[in-house]
Each structure stands twice: as structure tokens, then as C-alpha cells.
């Protein structure tokens, strides 16, 4: 259990955030300028805020009158720019924070062949894997990751994500994961802390936060979307994978998974079309049935509709005009249509143990 409360004012910006995070991966999500990096730097002890209370696993790191220096906090920090020591080999970088056996971590991150190299000769993805390993090997009580994927291109991101998922599933160290990419967050985290302009707008289980139509403005209307959890039924020869989800069957672009494996699929609200009757003659393959459970009007021409499907929720972004034309009411039966090709590989991820 992690308890964080940080208040800090500087140059016309005020950060005032308090949240509690359970075990597993807690994502700190917000647009740039929301105060994410300031917050994690305060947790790590690199920035001293005006007021703070930080407790990790029962150990008080900061409180009024208490301020532990970074080296005394036992917090591993994976920086956005990695910050490997350029004058040391990968092996010496890894060993810097602790004297233990580096073998298991090296194997998990797949960096055994890099040990004798200098950091200047690593690719971006390799650099971040070494940085993650170095932080892990200092045996921290908490791992901070400040947008570890932000400096990588899409291909490299997909290369690192499986390692992060393996880390999440095999280690007991809680992780605070800073990000402004919803797809990463949806794949990795089980808890979401939503920041907007220095304030904490929402905290909670990730599926609940992502499917709350009231929070869509803070997530960004273009990126918002709920996560469905389903089981892989079959891989088809035409390049599709069939997943059984609460509202019906989903076909998504093929991804590597065992039959029966539980999988999370994020469907962006703007990729969903609504229909009052069972649609016919459509090119879209995915038709899910549910009931309207909430409607949130936007400031512009749009509105967000939340659809309940046996307790899990999907969000659809439609115009207010269509809303009026369809005369939707709460509790009404509705069909949600999602295009298969709108689901990107980055929106699909296996379910973690956390």
C-alpha cells in the first residue's frame, strides 16, 4: 500500500494531489503539464514540495518534519531518458544499486548479451530495459516509471511492453507508472490516478475510471475508451482472432495468445457506432448488445453514451444530434458496433495477476 499526498506551488502552477495505491501497477495519467513528473520526483525525494506525506509499505518517507533523502528511500526510478551512467558498462550500471545476483533480472529483461557493452552502443529499447533492470536490482520497495516508453517509436514500445507485463506479473514490487498514452495505461495498470492541471480528478480501478463518461473530458475525448475483458476463442486463417466478450463476440486483428487466455481489449469511444435495432448488412464484424446506462453531454457537438453489458461498460462517442434522433433513454436496449481494424495491437494485452 502506498500513500501519497503532495502539495507544491511554483510559477503559477499548483500541484495538490492525494491518493492511495494498492499493490500492482498504478498509472498516473494526465496530459503534459498536469504535474505528473513533479509528483513522482517528490515521491522519489528529488524535489522537495511545500508539503508532503509519503508512506510506502508502512515506512514514512516524508511528513511534516520528516524528509528522507533519495538515497535513503529505497525507491527505484526509471527515468524517461534512462540516465544510464555513460562511463560504465551495462554490467556495472546494473550492479550500481546493489550487490546481489543480477542473473534472474538479466534473464527476465533479455539483456544477457549486452552486459559488456557501453550505454552509447545500445538501442533505445535496450537502454530502457537496462534502466529498468538497474532500478529493479537496487531492491526497491517501490518502482517509479516516468514515461519509460515515451522516447521510443511505436515498434520499440511494442518490444518493451511484454517485458513490463512480465515484470508486473512476476514481481511483488508496486509500480507507479506515469504516462500520457491511454493504450499503455490500459494494458499495464490495474489502478488509475487521473491528474488534470495539478489536481487529482479520479482514482480507482482502471476499468471503472476508463468507463466513466463523466471523466471523458479529462481523458481527452479523442483517446477515451473503455476496456473489455474477454477470453480468446479461436485464431482464424483470415488474420483475425475471435474473443468472447460480455456483450457478444469480438473479432480483432490476430495477436499472439493461447486459446482461453483472458485478454483486455480497449475500444475507443469514437470508434463505436450505436444502433437501436440489430444491424444488418454491415461491414463491421463486431456487434455487442447492452443497455444504455449513462449519457454525458459534451460542451461541443458530441456526447458520450455508456453501455452496460452484464456489468462491464463500453463507451460510445456520438453527436448530440444523433442522440436526439435516436431518442435514447436510460435502460434502453442498444447495439454497439465497433470496427475490427480500429483496434490497434497496442489496445490489446493479456490480463495480469495484479
Amino acid at each position: 500500500m502506498i500513500e501519497v499526498r503532495v502539495q507544491h506551488s511554483f510559477e503559477g502552477f499548483t500541484l495538490d494531489v492525494a491518493f492511495e495505491a494498492p499493490a500492482g501497477v498504478t498509472a498516473i495519467f494526465g496530459r503534459s503539464g498536469a504535474g505528473k513528473t513533479t509528483l513522482v520526483n517528490a515521491v522519489a525525494g528529488l524535489l522537495r514540495p511545500d508539503a508532503a506525506r509519503i508512506v510506502v509499505g508502512g515506512r514514512v518517507l516524508a511528513e511534516s518534519g520528516i524528509w528522507l533523502r533519495p538515497e535513503a528511500r529505497r525507491i527505484g526510478y526509471v527515468f524517461q531518458d534512462a540516465r544510464l551512467f555513460p562511463h560504465m558498462t551495462v554490467r556495472r550500471n546494473l550492479a550500481y544499486g546493489g550487490g546481489g545476483d543480477i542473473g534472474p533480472v538479466v534473464d527476465m529483461l533479455g539483456i544477457a548479451h549486452l552486459l559488456e557493452r557501453m550505454p552509447a552502443h545500445l538501442s533505445g529499447g535496450e537502454t530502457q530495459r537496462v534502466a529498468i533492470g538497474r532500478a529493479l536490482l537496487s531492491s526497491p520497495d517501490l518502482l517509479l516509471m516516468d514515461e519509460p516508453l515515451a522516447s521510443l517509436d511505436e515498434h520499440r514500445k511494442q518490444e518493451i511492453l511484454p517485458y513490463l507485463m512480465r515484470l508486473r506479473d512476476t514481481s511483488k514490487i508496486p509500480i507507479l507508472f506515469v504516462s500520457h498514452a491511454l493504450s499503455e495505461v490500459a494494458q499495464l495498470a490495474n489502478t488509475l490516478v487521473l491528474l488534470d492541471q495539478g489536481r487529482c480528478v479520479a482514482t480507482g480501478p482502471i476499468d471503472a475510471v476508463l468507463s466513466d463518461p463523466k471523466l471523458v473530458p479529462h481523458l481527452g475525448v479523442r483517446g477515451a475508451g473503455a476496456v473489455l475483458t474477454g477470453a480468446v476463442v479461436a485464431h482464424h486463417e483470415d488474420g483475425l482472432t475471435e474473443v468472447s466478450a460480455p456483450g457478444g463476440t469480438l473479432f480483432v486483428p490476430k495477436f499472439a495468445a493461447m486459446i482461453g487466455q483472458k485478454t483486455r481489449i480497449r475500444i475507443e469511444a469514437q470508434d463505436v457506432i450505436l444502433s437501436r435495432g440489430m444491424p444488418q448488412g454491415l461491414s463491421a464484424l463486431n456487434v455487442l448488445r447492452g443497455r444504455v446506462s449513462a449519457v454525458q453531454m459534451g460542451d461541443g457537438p458530441g456526447a458520450i453514451v455508456q453501455i452496460d453489458m452484464q456489468g462491464t461498460h463500453l463507451l460510445a462517442r456520438v453527436t448530440r444530434r444523433s442522440l436526439a434522433a435516436m431518442s435514447l433513454e436510460l435502460g434502453q436496449e442498444i447495439y454497439a458496433i465497433a470496427k475490427t481494424v480500429a483496434v490497434a495491437p497496442g489496445d490489446i494485452g493479456p490480463v495480469g495477476n495484479g
Binding site: 522519489a44 525525494g45 528529488l46 533523502r69 533519495p70 538515497e71 535513503a72 528511500r73 529505497r74 525507491i75 527505484g76 526510478y77 527515468f79 531518458d81 540516465r83 551512467f85 555513460p86 562511463h87 550500481y96 544499486g97 546493489g98 557501453m118 552509447a120 538497474r134 532500478a135 537496487s138
Partner: protein, 230 residues
């Protein structure tokens, strides 16, 4: 070499090397500390310290030498205390070391400070999050990365100390065999008719020492740079 150089010339060359060596070595720890403080710490009096460090660079050397005489002379407020402890600086070769060190200090601090400012503080922060104390961060991260700058500063200081004349002659005079360094000897030979050949030999020695120092420092700097970013 001792055959080629007369005894007085040889003494002057040797004394200059010894004085420059000790002036560089002894001021190095303080130079690194001062450079680090000026580059990284915000504290009251930072500008005053900066000014004090740079003062010997802009003051006439004779003024610096006279100020040293006033403070470190036998009747000076520091010199008097030191004399009771058995340490006399004025008109001794040890005083030449002090004068050379003071004159070379600004050059050393400037070179080292530049190299410290080039080190990303983020690397030091990263080391701290890995549990390293401030002393360990300095020894394992900062120091290895600034070694080329420390070397450059030392070479500059050594060269300045070898050539220091004004403050030295004011503070410790020009006593052959005791305080007569290479520049003072050169000056003395130029005052005496018929000593031109001695002066020319000293000039050649000075040029050779300067060239060797530069070449050695270039080679060392290249090696260190390779070690830092292989």
C-alpha cells in the same frame, strides 16, 4: 643536461619544476571543491567567493605578491601564526609555491567548473535513487566524468605556475638557489651584460617544458575521453 646548463641555471629550472608541481598538487583538492561549490550549490556569498577566486587573474601580479607579503610575511596576521608553528613562507621556496598556487588557482577552477557544469545533474540524481550517498555519487559519477577537465585545469595551472614571475619576486624575492625560479633567473641574466647565452638556454628549456606538458596532457585527455564514452 647538467653539463649543458650552468649550476645556477639548473637550480632555477629544477626549482621551477618543484614549485609548479607542488603548487598544482596542493591546490587541486581545494580547486575541485571550489569549482563544485560554484557550479552546483546556491549559497550566500557565492558571488563573493567567485570574485575572490578570480581576483589574482585581474590584479597586477605585484599587488597580489605584496598582499601575500602583508598576510603571510613574518609580521602578517597569518604569517606570524605560521612562524610560531615553525613554518616560514616569505623569502623561502615554499612561499614561491604559495604565490604560484594563488596565481594559478583561477585558471584551474575555471577549467574544472566548466567540466562540472557539463555533467548532467540527472545522472547524479539517478545514482542517489540507487542508494548512493553524496560522497559515493561524487566519487563514482561526477569525478570520473570531469577527469578530462581536472587534467586540463591542472596542466593550465602547472604552466601558469612555471611562468609566474610578478607575485613570486615580490613575495619571495630572487635569491639564487633558494627562491630563484626560471623566470626570475631569466630576468636576472638579462640584467647582467654577457649573460645572454644563459638566458637563451633558459628560453629553450622553458619552450621544451611547455611543449612536453601540452603533448602529455593531450594524450592523457584523449585516453580519458575514450574511457568516458567508448
Amino acid at each position: 643536461m647538467t653539463d649543458w646548463l650552468g649550476p645556477q641555471e639548473w637550480q632555477a629550472v629544477w626549482l621551477s619544476l618543484v614549485v609548479a608541481f607542488w603548487a598544482t598538487i596542493l591546490s587541486l583538492p581545494l580547486g575541485v571543491f571550489t569549482a563544485y561549490a560554484l557550479a552546483r550549490w546556491q549559497f550566500r556569498g557565492r558571488q563573493v567567493l567567485n570574485l575572490l577566486v578570480h581576483l589574482p587573474l585581474v590584479l597586477p601580479p605585484v599587488v597580489t605578491g605584496y598582499l601575500l607579503l602583508l598576510t603571510f610575511g613574518r609580521n602578517g596576521w597569518i604569517g606570524g601564526t605560521l612562524e610560531q608553528m615553525g613554518i616560514v613562507l616569505a623569502f623561502k621556496w615554499t612561499g614561491a609555491v604559495l604565490a604560484a598556487a594563488v596565481m594559478a588557482f583561477p585558471l584551474m577552477v575555471r577549467a574544472i567548473r566548466l567540466s562540472i557544469e557539463a555533467v548532467d545533474p540527472g545522472l547524479e540524481q539517478a545514482a542517489a535513487t540507487l542508494g548512493a550517498s553524496r560522497a559515493r555519487v561524487f566519487a563514482t559519477i561526477t569525478l570520473p566524468m570531469i577527469l578530462p577537465g581536472v587534467l586540463a585545469g591542472s596542466v593550465l595551472a602547472f604552466a601558469k605556475a612555471m611562468g609566474e614571475f610578478g607575485a613570486t619576486i615580490t613575495f619571495v624575492a630572487n635569491i639564487p638557489g633558494q627562491t630563484q625560479t626560471l623566470p626570475s633567473a631569466l630576468y636576472a641574466f638579462l640584467q647582467v651584460p654577457g649573460a645572454e647565452s644563459s638566458a637563451v638556454r633558459l628560453v629553450i628549456v622553458a619552450v621544451v617544458i611547455a611543449v612536453v606538458a601540452l603533448v602529455v596532457s593531450e594524450i592523457l585527455a584523449a585516453r580519458l575521453a575514450r574511457r568516458v564514452s567508448r
